[in-house]
Amino acid sequence: MDMKRFEYLLDLHGADFARWAPDDAALAQILVDADPAARALRQRAQALDTLLSAPEAEAMPEALKRRIMAALNDAPVAARPINDNYPARRVRMLRALSYGGMALAASVVLFALAFTAGGMNQSVTSPGSPGAGPQQMAASTQVDLFLLAMADPLFDEAEDAPALMPARTPDGAVIDLFLQSVEERYMGMTTEDL
């Protein structure tokens, strides 16, 4: 395990190796035992863990429960649907689009590269909606997802992220892998999440 990977995992799981995958924890322990810089990074993560634990959990006040029970009289039961499966629906839709063809993927890459070369706007907007303005919109198209990936300094740190360069070649298989990874990582995000 190198230092970059160690720092990535510290930021992901915190300093307590019990929360890490066993294999990663074992490698991390070896690194910490051998390298003072690794120990310092872990101590920094421990300090953050300690600070984050400051606001303890509070139980729901009984008075609030009583208030809610009393409010039921004014809240008629009605089987009105709540749109809670919206993200899943979007993922399915994007999946259908994602693997629609190599030509589409290649054109998206070219579009994204051209867009990036011209400067990344701080907002991700959906293509085809020029009036959308600067407001934050969740990434839902391949172009959105590419732009988010390219704007994200963290993307290169993720060990499992396919390299960006091969995805720019006309090699369809590699592009598909890249699309899949980008979709998993950025679906529904906005630049505000970066």
Binding site: I82, D84, A158
Partner: protein, 195 residues
């Protein structure tokens, strides 16, 4: 008119193990006792989450009330087949309510209250200041970063559970978690030399 159905006879022995699905089915018929039990079961989780997401108790209480009243009104729309688990469905409602509330009240800026709060000599005061600073730092995170930090770090959910609750993937949660911790570290640096 709301249902004024009297609670159905309660299975005293089986109460503790009555599933969420069963409870929510009874809530859909207007069973107040089932609703109360459902709220007892999930209230602490939703309240603690709301306090951390909104950053203050007053907003959290309003959000929790709104959440459970939505559950009461919409229990009939939850479907066991192929739908989200009840807890996931409940959390999504709570999350949306909290986020809506925060968006309406976004102009608030409480950072200066904590970071510039002066030198505390009394340890209790210092502890309170630390809590306030962490709470305010949480409020400064983007919504989804805050949500995954609350769910995974504070509420102890797995990344997979958190992903389901906020409608993203495990990799998306990991990415948000890393950003959240890094941003918290940056915000809290003035408080702690070791960060």
């Amino acid at each position: 008119m709301h249902h004024m159905t009297e609670p159905t006879p309660v299975k005293q022995a089986g109460d503790a193990t009555e599933s969420d699905e069963t409870l929510i089915g009874r809530v859909a018929t207007g069973d107040r006792r089932a609703f109360a039990r459902f709220m007892d079961r999930h209230g602490d989780f939703i309240y603690a989450t709301a306090v951390r997401l909104t950053g203050n108790r007053a907003d959290a209480q309003d959000a929790v009330q709104d959440t459970f009243l939505r559950v009461w009104r919409n229990a009939g729309s939850w479907r066991p087949d192929g739908g989200a688990a009840v807890r996931t469905w409940l959390y999504r409602i709570a999350h949306n309510v909290c986020i809506d509330m925060l968006r309406k009240r976004r102009p608030q800026n409480v950072l200066s209250e904590t970071i510039d709060s002066g030198v505390a000599t009394d340890s209790a005061v210092q502890e309170q200041e630390t809590k306030a600073a962490v709470t305010n730092a949480l409020r400064q995170l983007p919504e989804r970063q805050r949500a995954v930090l609350v769910l995974c770090h504070y509420q102890g959910l797995s990344n997979a559970e958190a992903a389901t609750m906020i409608g993203t993937t495990v990799k998306g949660v990991e990415s948000l978690l890393i950003r959240a911790r890094r941003q918290m570290r940056d915000i809290l640096k003035p408080l702690h030399n070791g960060l």
